[in-house]
Amino acid sequence: MLFLMLTPAVVYFIIFHYVPMGGVIVAFKYFEFDKGILHSPWVGFKNFSFFFESGQAWLLTKNTILYNLAFILVGMVFQVGVAILFSELGGKRIKKFLQSTMLLPYFISWVVVGSFVYGIFNYEFGSLNTLLRTLGMDPVDIYGNPSVWFFIIVGFYLWKLIGYGSIVYLAAIMGINPELYESAELDGANIFQRIRYITLPLLKVTIVIMILLQVGGILRGNLDMFYQLVGNNGLLFNTTDVIDTFVFRALYQQGLDLGMPAAAGLYQSAVGFVIIISLNYIIKKVNPDYALF
């Protein structure tokens, strides 16, 4: 019976994921339209060379990983924090209202966010500098200062997904047995202690799983976000360029080559795969309940 219940998903994943997965071979081919992926000639690792010979491969890998680590960890802290606050606070209506507003940024596309960001930070007429000038302070050149962009990007990522991301944790908290809280309260635990000793430990599974789910994509960058916030501003690339933006920029004016992007994608996948397998292995040793598979 359990097998039967699993059948739809298995069939679905075979058809829509495993069958197309054969396409990765194009990373090792010179793609020709009339021959298709299957019959195009093999070229070995040639498609990988544009990335590894660019002199940027290490910087890009480092940037991508750092950004993702920040997204995962900072995102987790804020989303869990917000979820805990929502679960413990009284005042139904206002809570609902606050919760709804936090979901709003999720709907504002990065294109629009990009315009806002320029509207806030541009040197001449941006709202930040207008404010500073009114206060009699010196204007700041945010776009001329690559190092602050790490924080700006992480900040906007956080802002956009805080409401959306906290929903999972909120649901997890709602699944915690209220009896635990009741008995803790009878034992004289205050609200902070209850969070520390009940909520957080019981959220651990969810937190670990959420982190693992994101770690597999540690070498992938959200192209849309990076492109809209930074664009082709070469002056900021040292701190903002990630693999996806690099590949996109490199290939947008090239012919329709399936090989090079596939090669870059394969690199991202392979690294993600190694990391996730090792991490899962370690976690499984510690506590099998927390492992993904």
């Binding site: 359990l2 219940m5 699993l6 998903a9 298995v10 679905y12 994943f13 829509f16 994921h17 197309p20 997965m21 396409g23 990765v24 924090g81 606050l85 413990e88 606070l89 009284g90 606050l98 919760q99 709804s100 507003t101 936090m102 709003l104 940024p105 709907f107 504002i108 596309s109 629009v112 966010v113 315009s115 806002f116 509207g119 007429f125 709202s127 959306y164 929903i167 649901a171 997890a172 908290i173 709602m174 699944g175 915690i176 209220p178 009896e179 809280y181 309260e185 205050n190 609200i191 902070f192 019981l202 799983i209 789910l213 597999g216 399936l258 994608g265 996948s269 309940d289 993904l292 598979f293």
Partner: protein
């Protein structure tokens, strides 16, 4: 509401100070975050009812400088198309969410069962697909060869399952004591019955979470439509808006190339109006989802 804080009411009076402190801190923090989230949206809203040229001249503002509905007029210029697009989207969101949620939960249920020997193997089977993908073209070929071009299924199928959702759901189920299913099994209930009769009703927060995620995915998607749909009667809302926007951009580009006079169209404010039109309905629906985010509605309530 009945369930919410039932147990804690009595003790509340004893531990008042920490509650108060917590509430003050909590509301200040949440209020600040909400404000940060709300203000940009209000600016979007205000911008969407501003004259396009005023937006360039005065920038984004909380109060519109020169009120104008030109962007909305452009969106609603052909009301019958909008109604049609809404219908497609609603059908898609409803059918996709119901079907997707049921299948996701069923899969997650099997994967969470400790007595299912292959649970880890299958979990890996699913998870692996998030790491490696064959890319767009082979996937497109599969869709085309299944004859899905210009069909409702081309919109429905791509988001039916997401590994992310299955695994979160599985995690939620892990929190349910196994004794629940075991006792039912002794009574002779089959796996499917246990899943439908016992698990689904007590997993409302989890189901509403994943349901919301699935619904949002369907609601926001225009990419599938762009790839597979050319029939006007199957165009969902987001793709319709995307097309208007794109043709406006195209018109401007053409104008640049040819020097041809084109009607000046509100491209900037249109983007903002699009955001509002797309966000509005979800924000109206969200409070109904929140109804299920009530403490103790799952396992604990059943046991207690």
């Amino acid at each position: 509401m009945r369930y919410s804080r039932s147990g804690t009411v009595a003790v509340n009076t004893i531990k008042k100070t920490d509650k108060l402190a917590f509430n003050v801190i909590g509301y200040v923090v949440l209020g600040a975050i909400s404000l940060l989230c709300l203000v940009p949206f209000l600016i979007t809203l205000s911008g969407s009812v501003t004259k396009d040229s005023a937006l360039f001249e005065y920038g984004y503002r909380l109060i519109p400088k020169m009120f104008s509905l030109e962007a909305y007029e452009l969106i609603f210029r052909t009301p019958e198309v909008i109604v049609g697009a809404y219908t497609v989207t609603i059908l898609l969101v409803v059918s996709g969410t119901v079907l997707g949620l049921f299948l996701t939960a069923m899969t997650a249920y099997v994967l969470h069962r400790r007595d299912f020997k292959y649970r880890n193997k299958f979990s890996f089977f699913f998870f692996f697909t998030t790491l490696f993908s064959g890319g767009l073209v082979p996937w497109y070929l599969v869709m085309i060869n299944l004859g899905l071009k210009n069909s409702f299924l081309a919109l429905l199928l791509p988001h039916l399952f997401a590994v992310f959702h299955i695994i979160i759901m599985r995690t939620f189920f892990t929190g349910i004591p196994e004794s629940l299913g075991e006792s039912a099994k002794i009574d002779g209930a089959g796996d499917l019955t246990i899943f439908v009769r016992l698990y689904l009703p007590i997993s409302l927060p989890a189901l509403s979470t994943i349901g919301l995620f699935i619904a949002l995915t369907y609601w926001n998607d225009w990419y599938q439509a762009m790839l597979f749909i050319t029939k006007p009667s199957l165009i969902p809302l987001q793709y319709h808006l995307y097309k208007i926007f794109n043709s406006m951009e195209a018109a401007q580009i053409v104008a640049q190339k040819t020097g041809m006079p084109v009607a000046q169209m509100p491209t900037e404010t249109f983007k903002l109006a699009m955001t509002v039109v797309v966000t509005g309905p979800i924000i109206l629906v969200y409070p109904f989802v929140q109804k299920y985010f009530v403490k103790g509605m799952t396992v604990g309530a059943v046991k207690g």
